[in-house]
Amino acid sequence: MERTNDSWLKDLTQRSEPALVELREALLRGLRRGLSGRPRADESFLEDCTQDSLLRVLDKLGQFDGRSRFVTWATAIAIRVALGQLRRSQWKDVTLADLVPATVNQGGNQLAGAPAPDVRMQRRDLLVALNASIQNDLSDRQRTALLAELRGMPQDEIARQLSCSRNALYKLTHDARKKLKARLEAAGFTGDDLIATSVA
């Protein structure tokens, strides 16, 4: 008989040992399935993540609003913990300065694919406008964060190196995307142009 959400909440709030054991097992099973096929996610890694996830879930109990099964909600948290640790371990020795050299922040560089004789005029114009907007409309922090994300650096790591929270980082890159999009739209480029250019 599956536990109800209310039963999970009540027992976990009281730190009931059987409920903690049951949740731990459920999270470990969930991580095994969700991260299957990832060579670095071995059993000992998954067990460590399960322990960290359990603490994170207990910390967030008050935020569970009952709109899904409790175990699904807790598993989503565990997956964030585990994939976050995997990402961090892959990027721990990379600095933003390595990834986004200062030359990008000093303007004047050209995007790959910018003016070339054989590309369509519209694509060239769009890339020129995009390049100009990256250089002129974004702050150094916005440019660095956006480019680091494009290059695959995990958000947690970018936030750590920029000394800001993950939410603040999201706002930084969201504002950067909005600025670039607004600039391209003001220059007459539509969403269809962005698709055509992105696959050109």
């Binding site: 099964r69 948290i77 994939l83 890339l127 999009k181």
Partner: protein, 82 residues
């Protein structure tokens, strides 16, 4: 120092899906379990959860986490040692 073709393509895709108002990753995490269960049940996505679809289109990390969650839920539905 240049953006590669791949980076340009990825940036343009991101810009196309960028909206003035977006969920951040923390807000996405709070709602993604309900979103995944609705999908799994074949239900139409409630209006309040459509912002999740948009966030997943612009956030590679939340998309990766959502796909892992779907793998987990698909396994549960398949009835293997649930």
């Amino acid at each position: 120092m240049s953006l590669s073709e791949t980076e340009i393509a990825q940036l343009l895709k991101l810009l196309r899906r960028t909206e003035d108002r977006e969920l951040n990753c923390e807000q996405c995490l709070a709602l993604v379990a309900e979103f995944a269960e609705s999908h799994l049940a074949g239900k139409s996505i409630p209006a309040g959860l459509q912002a999740i679809e948009q966030h997943l289109a612009v956030c590679g990390e939340c998309l990766e986490e959502y796909e892992a969650l779907r793998l987990t839920l698909d396994g549960l539905r398949g009835g293997r040692d649930a």
